[in-house]
Amino acid sequence: MLEMFAHGLQLVLTSDVLLAVLIAVPVGLLAGILPGLGGIAALALLLPFIYGMEAMTGLAFLVAVHAVIYTGGSMSAVLLGIPGAPPNAATVADGYSMCRRGYAGVAVGAALTASGVGGLIGFVVLVALLPFVQGVVTLFGSPETFLLSLLGISCIAILGRGAMVKGLIAGGLGIFLAMFGYQRISGVPRFWFDIDYLLDGFRLVPLVLGLFAIPEVLSLSGRRKATRDEAQTGLEWAQIRTGAQEVIKHHWLCLRSALIGVVVGIVPGIGGETAPFVAYAAARQNSVQPDTFGAGAIEGVIAPESSNNAKEGGALVTTLALGIPGSAGMAVLLGGFLLVGLEPGPDFLTEHMDIAIGLAMVLALANVLAVIFMLGMSKWLIRIAWVDGDILAPLLLVLVVAGAYATNNNPVDVLMVFVFGALGWILRELGYNRAALLLGFVLAASIETYLHISLQAYGAWFFLRPVSLIILAIMLLGLCWPLLRRLISQCRASPRP
């Protein structure tokens, strides 16, 4: 194993690969920051570039771009309230609140540091699991995928705490929107009204852009340029440092969120977008001040960002070891492998373990470089938040519109951005939780599909498996945790006889 490490290191420490990573990191960060290009659109558009490159160089480029997209995306989430990529939507609530209250630096420092730490934890888990991955992924069958999706959906209730009925309505609406289009278990398209576009139902990227970007852009347009306060400039570095220190202070939170990210990333049936929401919900459940969440709690930034980057380590495990993409981004990465003539799968690890380890190292390196790069740029990036709204708003809309088109080369996607934009604006004005809607939308198909498959393959008692029971226990514990904690502290407080 150690010699594999050495080989992997050898593969990475070549000028070609290092150059590829050095170029990939700013590209990935830019793709993450620009709202229209978040997530797989950028990766898909970069795929043709690696045609003709050496295998390791091309793959390192793609992995590095992908690893840092969410780090970049956290910046737009914090500074503009617009998630740079769908998984960054969980960071918006608290990150943007902090920015509006003058703590942009703290939020930025925390988001970046959490991203870097999460990415490194993802790398550690990835490398630790690679030799055992066959066994690990075999443990997670359809029943486990269903229960994990159920766990994810139950987070809607946690996200909606404080306005439960509204949260549940938003979540329910999200699940309902996912009902349009092909039902995976029957192949029949639901409610498509003879419109070809609706055969696949509503799409994720227009939904996210509409729900989050459009309302913020509309608000921006009313805002005039803030007067630059010289005293504030000094504050920025201090704030950024504070933010970074908060991550160290909340190290257990960071670790737990990262582990959540890794688990969600490993299971192929669940999209990576769920990880930050589950991490956020777990953070809220465990917080002593859960009501601060949504209004500027630092944990609400650390948890999702840590899990965002960690989940890529998990997804890479499944992609490399089984050739099954854990997410849409990984599907594109898989395409990159095929383009350079490699095929991930069970054989791949036996023959090319050094490449796998090399790519894991690229993941870690890219995360670290991204954090250094962004921390260096953050002072100037924060200025974006002060740009005149009249200038920022139309330019952001240009990115949103072009990016929405670029996703699938479909003009209807652009129209849908504005349809969902209207919905997003209404939800925001009325105080409904848009993140809950997104979570419901993302998980709905998994729940219906994997429940059906589990019942068909294992019968009604499909959950009587070790891992399923553990997941059920975690779900119940998680939901009841605040109550349990109160009971425990009451028991402790009551005088002994």
């Binding site: 795929l47 069958g141 080369n409 498959i453």
Partner: protein, 348 residues
């Protein structure tokens, strides 16, 4: 002249020229020299699936070669949606100028048309076929975690046999349906997996008993020892599995059952194929066909494809047209009903 007069004039002139240069006047088809037409033009090679998949890989492999042989710029464009239906509908309805071609899942498209699936707005008999790029026979595999070891075990199994697939007409489920009907298997097909790899993983895990996949996929799964290749679902052995018997070698099938296997093999023969809109001028279609025929039968290019794990099995447009006509028109309404029942209802 006054600034307030000539600035607006210049601006209007610039805007107008920009607009006029951007709006391309429709080109009239040049009688004769199709090569002259294509030189300098842009051909869109459309793929009905997202980037990173098999179709995308084939398209990106072919694009530079097509560019070299036609003199046009070939751009691969991904238009995922409806399992490839969306793009096919669009290409079929596009302007018949020969500049939009599609690498289609002809097998699935034919089945969808045959079964009158929702969203089908094309008729493959009208389409301008260009060439077939690849095709592969299907191999039936058992999971090593199941107690089934050979075809006889499956045919004699008293309990229900579970199969995995992603959709009813995804070339895995329907192959399974045809095979089950031909061999009288007590099958239940579980669909919903997110693609062929996840379905194969389910078989590997023992969540289902078997899966029917393409020969090249079967080779990989067999190599890793997780799935057991049982038989080739066709008349001829696969070059990738020279020792694996065909279903006809293992079982003597009565004609009505044998027909099911043969018909599905015929559909498989359509494979991944290049097509363009109906009504494209004959000389342009001919030019594209000639270019593609030369590319796909070039031994060097075939070797290049093999090196990245892609097989090219060329067939001409004429062959495709004959195959399509036969596939879509050879069934009477009773047989069609039977097919519909087999593929869409019986094993679910």
């Amino acid at each position: 002249m006054n600034k307030s007069v000539w600035i607006p004039k210049i601006v209007s002139f610039l805007v107008l020229s920009f607009v006029m240069n951007t709006v391309t006047a429709p080109r009239t088809a040049q009688a004769g020299e199709a090569a002259g037409f294509y030189a300098g033009e842009v051909i869109r090679l459309i793929v009905g699936y997202g980037p990173g998949g098999g179709y995308d890989a084939y398209a990106r492999f072919l694009a530079p070669h097509l560019q070299a042989r036609t003199g046009a710029t070939v751009i691969v464009e991904n238009r995922p949606g409806g399992g490839g239906l969306l793009a096919l509908n669009q290409v079929v309805a596009a302007r018949p100028d020969g500049l939009s071609i599609m690498l289609a899942n002809a097998e699935a498209a034919a089945l969808a048309q045959l079964l009158d699936k929702e969203g089908v707005r094309y008729d493959l008999q009208d389409v301008t076929w260009l060439a077939r790029v690849s095709t592969e026979p299907r191999v039936l595999m058992w999971s090593r975690r199941s107690e089934l070891r050979n075809l006889a075990d499956g045919m004699q199994s008293a309990r229900r046999i579970n199969w995995a697939a992603s959709g009813k007409t995804d070339s895995i489920a329907d192959v399974t349906s045809f095979a089950s009907a031909a061999l009288n298997l007590n099958s239940r097909i579980i669909i919903g997996y997110k693609g062929s790899k996840e379905a194969a993983l389910a078989a590997t895990r023992g969540e289902v008993d078997g899966i029917c996949v393409s020969a090249s996929s079967a080779k990989k799964y067999a190599g890793s020892g997780k799935l057991l290749p049982v038989t080739v679902l066709g008349r001829e052995r696969s070059t990738l599995f020279p020792k694996l018997p065909t279903v006809f070698e293992l079982v003597k099938l009565p004609p009505d059952k044998a027909w099911l296997i043969d018909y599905r093999s015929q559909l498989t023969g359509l494979g991944r194929a290049l097509l363009t809109a109906p009504g494209v001028p004959a000389e342009r279609a001919g030019f594209l066909r000639a270019a593609l025929d030369s590319i796909l039968s070039d031994p060097e290019i075939q070797a290049e494809a093999r090196a990245i794990g892609r097989l090219l099995n060329h067939a001409t447009a004429n062959r495709l047209t004959t195959l399509i006509d036969d596939t879509l028109t050879s069934l009477d309404s009773q047989t069609l009903q039977l097919l519909r029942n087999v593929v869409l209802e019986r094993y679910y």
